[in-house]
Amino acid sequence: MLGAVFLGLPLVALFHFTIKGGLEGGITFRHWAELLSGEVDAGGPLWDGISSSLVLAAVTVALMLALLLPTMILVRLRLPRWEKALEFVCLLPLTIPAVAMVVGLAPVYSVVARIFGSGSWTLAFAYVILCLPYAYRALQSNLSAIDVPTLSEAARTLGASWPTVLLRVLLPNLRRGVLAASFISVAVVLGEFTVASLLSRTNLQTAIVLVQKQDPYVAYIVVLLSLALALGLLLVIGRVGAATARSNR
């Protein structure tokens, strides 16, 4: 209950602000109407921000899964002694403030820019590191719930190659962990401001800050909308997860 108030109050205040009549007072949906009908031209930077954040989310999730999943499975199967070390490395980013990380990242990104250009999608390399602790935890809990060595060995004796073991046996049983890790990564990417801002790249959050300077009403409406978007995404992924879990029963 207290949690709901704690969480809900700022949102209600935010919503109240967007429907305030300004100097003339009263309640009005004028700002919403202006934005939705396209009268206010917040379009440019905002669309740039949204599209680059969505691309970033997709690239980050893909990179994170491609990097983390095979590594974790390999460590579990062949190098169980390294499990603690892997956990330590994966949780390390939690302890480093984003600002401090940028200091280290800036020179790295001058190299990255030379190789991959300065497109904002390149932020995904940094975001994978930011997502690592959360994604690791999500995958880890799913991995420990299944007997990876025995399932792999059973599949191997039945004639499966290693790629087949990974794709046909392990991945279907790790679906919940993969979904959870993906979602939390998307959430981290959509909410990230510090790194993008300090490395002078555009994403949703930097765009919102930019728009806020022109029209605070529009900025807060967009904040509300992006929160709704994230909530919607959470519900969708939750449903998909529940549906696949049901079909597995």
Binding site: T150, L151, E153, A160, P172, N173, N248
Partner: protein, 355 residues
């Protein structure tokens, strides 16, 4: 039954072993899990690998499956050296100790998996998988997931999954140890029946001697990475080659005795010893409880405990020098705790060992 079973072994086949593991060494750092392990399996026979935990029996089975690489030695299956062939191309069927069904697949899909890997057509796959599930007595449970099946049922699906591809060798890694006693006995009889019916060469790992003696054509007793003795259950029980086997297979009393000229005197009784491997002098004789009987006027002893085992009774008595002896006798001979009795040896020691 339309599944093709290999033809019964002819005398020629029997001469050349179906599986030959020779001089296998497996090192983990300084530890030798297998230390010159050798074993032959004739076509269609069930051999049990029996031994205490840590003796290397599971490692031997996993080496045959290709799940462990071997440091030295060769593994030949049906005239082909498979020592370096990866697991997925060895054509083995394996049932594991822990439940190993793929949780995201139904029972029938689990059984189909191996056929899918061999690119068998879908309709043929389903037919053979259903047939195999029927063979293990799981008709009508094809669409259940692992968590909807009991432990015994899961292991039967795993057995069907291992058998459906008609592998060269069936490997059973303590498949019954996670099950409760009643299911265990049922399932071991079923495994033996199916194994005989299909005539599939089988290696069975267990630490349970009762299981090994009840199921196997031959039992290989392992100790410290090598086979101590291999033989029929009867041979192992009545003529153990070493003291270790005598102690591990069946119950034995270890009694002090003196050996001279092929005669050992134990508890005042002189008994012939068949083995000439032990030199004359002080020895430990291994005597089965059924070879000791209660005899008024025998060696005096005190009853320290007794347990009723249905058709018979096993009683532990303490001799005057505090040595304990287990006597197996008729359930009708009632004994009371603390009673003074006499015992006598009624059969030869199965093994003697220098003290």
């Amino acid at each position: 039954m339309t599944l093709s079973a290999p033809a019964p072994a002819t005398t020629d086949d029997a001469a050349a072993p179906w599986v030959r593991m020779s001089g296998i060494v497996k090192r983990y750092g300084d530890v030798r899990a297998l230390d010159g392990f050798s074993l032959d399996l004739a076509r269609g026979e069930l051999v049990a690998l029996l031994g205490p935990s840590g003796c290397g029996k599971t490692t031997a089975l996993r080496a045959l499956a290709g799940l462990e690489s071997v440091s030295e030695g060769t593994i030949i299956v049906h005239d082909v050296d498979v020592s370096t062939v990866p697991t997925n191309r060895r054509d083995m069927g394996m049932v594991f100790q822990s439940y190993s069904l793929f949780p995201h697949l139904t029972a029938v899909e689990n059984v189909e998996f191996g056929l899918q890997m061999r690119k068998v057509a879908a309709s043929e796959r389903r037919r053979r998988a259903s047939l195999m599930l029927a063979l293990v007595g799981l008709e009508g449970r094809e669409d259940r997931y692992a968590h909807q099946l009991s432990g015994g049922q899961q292991q039967r699906v795993a057995l069907a999954r291992a058998l459906v591809t008609e592998p060269q060798v069936l490997l059973l890694d303590e498949p019954l140890s996670a099950l409760d006693a009643k299911v265990r006995v049922e399932l071991r009889e079923q495994i033996r029946r199916i194994q005989t019916e299909l005539g599939i060469t089988t290696l069975f790992v267990t630490h349970d001697q009762e299981e090994a003696l009840a199921m196997a054509d031959r039992v290989a007793v392992m100790s410290e990475g090598r086979v101590e003795q291999i033989g029929s259950p009867e041979e192992l029980y009545s003529r153990p080659a070493t003291a270790f086997v005598a102690d591990f297979v069946g119950l034995s009393n270890r009694l002090p005795g003196v050996l001279a000229n092929g005669i050992v005197s134990v508890l005042g009784t002189a008994l012939p010893v068949t083995s000439d491997a032990v030199r004359d002098g002080d020895v430990t004789a291994y005597v089965r409880p059924e070879h000791v009987r209660l005899l008024p006027g025998g060696v005096p002893a005190t009853v320290a405990g007794t347990s009723f085992l249905g058709s018979m009774r096993r009683t532990v008595v303490t001799l005057e020098d505090d040595a304990k002896v287990t006597v197996q006798h008729d359930a009708a001979d009632e004994v009371t705790l603390g009673a003074r009795v006499g015992i006598a040896l009624a059969g030869n020691p199965v093994a003697v060992e220098a003290r």
